[in-house]
């Protein structure tokens, strides 16, 4: 008697970013701000992206939202697949000519893929500005670092929230006012009816950030991108905002992409983390594994320079050198010049993401991995992708 193996319905992730490369072209030079980023965000989870300035994390956020500066462009191979049902339905209606099957016979100009097997998505990298405008705010919303400049100082806060409601949900007048008051309450601003009629400068920093979060929630997005939302705030206010975000996530099943340079904040809010360096993701892991056993030398370097984790040492360990500005696509390991464990091959071979100890959740882009086999064979894994697929079987016939 044959039994059919149960088909596990693995839901495709809410957002999959594949091979995201952002390049800025100026008269003098080209800057490859990000190169070949791959990551995914599931519904309802918080993905953290951590890196120093120059790592390209803010550029990533802006690329997802279609807010790159005019000199920036996405690579031809980049794709940003967003899978929110209501958004896709709306786009299918509005852009019937752009709907494709995604089965290889794709015509140019399609950016909505509507398949029968349920894997429907819209490719934001290929969508025109108009479509991205529609998605921006209602499907994906963003919270920026400086709450002061994100709000227009000459309009009241209530006015700005109601405008968001009008644009994306077409709610006006008294109904809009009521919804806005509710939103302010949801984000924990006391006395919301009065606050609605006040101007941004009458709010404190933390309150402003809450007001902005209220604005983003106005359109019920599926994914919230937070670009260093608490960096400019005091630590007690930061704690309030982080707690607020966690509450909202639980209530609304919101996915969050949280970008920061503060490892402590990442440890608190993130479920999974990507560590970025010079435009690439060098390590991806669930937050527990990342802090417990960081694999990539850069991550280890970051960990050892955090004062709170190194209370015993008199001097903090530091990494020599500085983050480079990449001017071409990667052909070697960009961290090699600063890496304490670099060897010759590091300057010639570009590392791929290798699972650590067979665990596909935790990957590091470093020639030191896979750890359990000899170095040359390990390096070979990075140069010959087809062998990479055979990792688990241990079948390393060269």
């Amino acid at each position: 008697m044959t039994t059919e193996p149960p088909v596990a319905e693995v839901e495709p992730p809410l957002l999959s970013v594949e091979n995201l490369s952002v390049t800025f072209h100026t008269d003098k030079e080209s800057i490859h701000a990000t190169s070949g980023l791959d990551f995914e965000i599931e519904r309802g989870e918080t993905v953290g992206v951590v890196g120093e300035s120059g790592s390209g994390k803010s550029v990533t956020a802006r690329a997802l939202m279609g807010l790159l500066e005019s000199t920036g462009e996405l690579g031809a191979e980049s794709s940003i697949k967003f899978r929110d049902e209501s958004t896709i339905d709306r786009l299918v209606d509005d852009y019937p000519n752009a709907v494709g099957r995604g089965d290889g016979s794709s015509e140019d100009g399609t950016f909505v893929i509507d398949r029968d097997d349920g894997n429907r998505y819209v490719d934001l990298a290929k969508a025109p500005d108009q479509a991205v405008n529609q998605i921006r705010g209602s499907g994906i919303a963003m919270v920026f670092q400086d709450p002061l400049t994100s709000l227009n100082p000459v309009y009241t806060v209530g006015n700005q929230i109601k405008e968001a409601l009008r644009i994306h949900r077409e709610i006006r007048g008294q109904e809009a006012t009521e919804v806005a008051i509710e939103l302010l309450e949801d984000v924990g601003i006391p006395d919301p009816a009065r606050r609605m009629r006040e101007y941004p400068h009458q709010f404190s920093g933390g309150m402003r950030q809450r007001a902005i979060i209220a604005m983003t929630l106005a359109c019920d997005p599926e994914l919230l991108i937070c670009d260093e939302p608490t960096t400019a705030l005091d630590v007690t206010i930061q704690a309030q905002i982080l707690e607020l975000l966690q509450e909202l996530q639980a209530e609304r099943d919101l996915a969050i992409l949280f970008i920061t340079h503060d490892m402590g904040v990442i440890a608190e809010v993130a479920d999974r983390v990507g560590v970025m360096y010079a435009g690439e993701i060098v390590e991806k892991a669930p937050v527990g594994s990342l802090f417990e056993s960081p694999a990539h030398p850069y991550t280890r370097g970051l960990m050892s320079s955090i004062p709170s984790r190194n209370l015993d040492s008199d001097r903090l360990e530091t990494l020599e050198g500085e983050v480079p500005t990449p001017h071409e696509s990667p052909h070697d390991c960009r961290f090699a010049p600063r890496c304490p464990e670099a060897f010759d091959a590091c300057h010639e071979t570009h590392p791929n993401a290798i699972p650590i100890e067979g665990n596909a959740d935790h990957t590091a882009s470093c020639l030191l991995y896979p750890e359990d086999i000899q170095t040359e064979k390990a390096v070979a894994r990075h140069t010959r992708p087809e062998e990479r697929d055979q990792t688990e079987t241990g079948d390393d016939t060269t």
Partner: protein, 482 residues
């Protein structure tokens, strides 16, 4: 970063660098001397005139005789491009040109001289730029300064180039006015009856003598009778721009008037700028009551009716020694400067206050730097750019105002040449044959002021590094926002 060449010293000063590599300096110096030599006389003459003016400012007029002697001596130095070297002389005796310079009729001689002068001046200007470039690559100790970025930005600014060109051409006109003109101011405009010229009289078919004044009277442009631009009059004199209703040569008038306009403009804006900068620095550094006092005074002055004040004071001072300079032009310039500083001050106050709030000013106070040094070293460089920008635009404004006043007959009196007076003189003939009297100076004024504004634009864009403001995107991402 450039690699330091071996000739660049890393610790020393420019002098060491020169000693290490003397060749570029020597070459540049030799060519510069070569260029300077022909025109040395003219340069010294301009300097002498400026000194004469300054000396005449001192009450009692000491050393006037000495100054005049110096001027005469300097005037005797032969210069290459003066009117004597390539004179536009000669006459037409009905069949051919006689007594001309190298066989060129007066018109061509004048054109040759003008072209030579302009070429020479532009050559000098270019050689100075080359000198700067050589200095920068060979001798300057820092391999990069903020000024380099400004130059780079200016290099691609087309409108700024246009402004620079206009201003440079104007300055050449000012400096070389006596040489560029077909005749002298003294001879043609100020004292025509004391000079004589010889001309060829067609009726008697011989060379005769007459006073310039008489000749002028016969060469008037008054609509019916007209000596238009680019023509000869009956006395064989060439007029590139035609003549005025009084018969005086318009080109000479304008060339001399350029000098007057520039001096007046510079004095006015120079004075206003000096007051504005000092007060801006003081209000930015001390703030509080000092700032309040300056604000009150500036508002009070701006509340005065400037036209009335100008007229009143210029009339009051017209009989004094200071009123005699440029026939009242100097007084006008001073008054204009004294009442227009509020505009400049207000433009500088913002940047000055902003700079005074920067941490490096605090740092300077922290180690005990004296207030005046802080103002000079730490705040002034940041407002100098704004001063240049607003100053150059105000310069245009000053020139136009004075010209306007002269046009109304209220500014500079005869006989000092000034562009506005020319416009005034020709206003009734605009629709007639003698349109050139008003139109040419009018166009030149417009062109000049536009040129100054364009230059100001160019400087402003050059000193402000481009800043990308992405503020619109931030509210868009939150889903709306005003």
């Amino acid at each position: 970063m450039n690699q330091d060449t071996e000739t660049q010293s890393t610790t020393g000063n420019a002098l060491d660098a020169v000693r290490a590599n003397p060749r570029p300096v020597a070459v540049w110096g030799a060519v510069a001397a070569l260029l300077l030599l022909p025109e040395l006389g003219a340069v010294l003459a301009s300097v002498a005139e400026a000194v004469a003016i300054l000396v005449s400012l001192i009450p009692g007029d000491p050393g006037a005789a000495l100054v005049t002697d110096i001027q005469r001596a300097v005037g005797d130095i032969p210069t290459l491009l003066s009117r004597e070297t390539i004179p536009n002389r000669g006459y037409y005796d009905g069949s051919q040109w006689q007594g001309t310079f190298a066989g060129l009729e007066p018109r061509d001689a004048w054109l040759l001289r003008a072209v030579l002068i302009y070429t020479y001046a532009l050559l000098v200007f270019w050689w100075v730029v080359v000198g700067y470039r050589w200095f920068r690559s060979n001798y300057r100790v820092s391999d990069w300064t903020p000024f380099d970025d400004m130059l780079d930005r200016f290099r691609t600014h087309r409108w700024g180039h246009f402004g620079l060109l206009v201003v440079v051409l104007f300055l050449i006109l000012v400096v070389f006015a006596p040489s560029l003109s077909t005749t002298t101011v003294d001879q043609n405009i100020v004292d025509p009856y004391s000079h004589e010229i010889s001309y060829y009289d067609h009726e008697v078919e011989s060379v005769e003598q007459t006073t310039v004044g008489t000749a002028n009277r016969e060469s008037q442009s008054t609509g019916e009778e007209n000596i238009g631009p680019w023509t000869y009059d009956d006395y064989g004199r060439f007029h590139p721009f035609g003549t005025l209703p009084s018969g005086k040569d318009l080109f000479t008038f304008i060339a001399a008037g350029a000098r007057v306009s520039l001096v007046i403009g510079l004095v006015a804006i120079g004075l206003a700028g000096l007051i504005a900068v000092s007060l801006a620095l003081l209000s930015a550094y001390y703030q509080g009551l000092v700032d309040l006092a300056v604000v009150l005074s500036s508002d009070s002055i701006q509340g005065l009716p400037s036209l009335l004040i100008l007229l009143l004071l210029s009339v009051l001072l017209s009989d004094t020694w200071i009123g005699g300079i440029y026939s009242g032009g100097f007084v006008l310039a001073l008054i204009y400067g004294a009442i227009s500083w509020p505009f400049l001050w207000r433009a500088l106050r913002g940047p000055a206050l902003q700079t005074a709030g920067e941490e490096w000013v605090d740092a300077a106070r922290n180690f005990g730097q004296a207030p005046h040094t802080i103002m000079r070293k730490h705040i002034l460089p940041y407002i100098a750019g704004y001063l240049l920008v607003y100053g150059s635009m105000s310069l245009g404004g000053a020139i136009i105002s004075i010209a306007g006043l002269s046009f109304l007959g209220l500014g500079i009196d005869a006989p000092t040449p000034e562009w506005g007076r020319a416009v005034n003189a020709g206003q009734e003939y605009v629709a007639s044959e003698s349109w050139h009297i008003s139109l040419i100076p009018g166009v030149l004024i417009t062109l000049l002021v536009t040129g100054f504004n364009a230059l100001g634009d160019g400087i402003r864009d050059a000193i402000d590094p481009q800043s990308d403001t992405d503020s619109g995107t931030e509210s868009a991402a939150t889903g709306g926002g005003a």
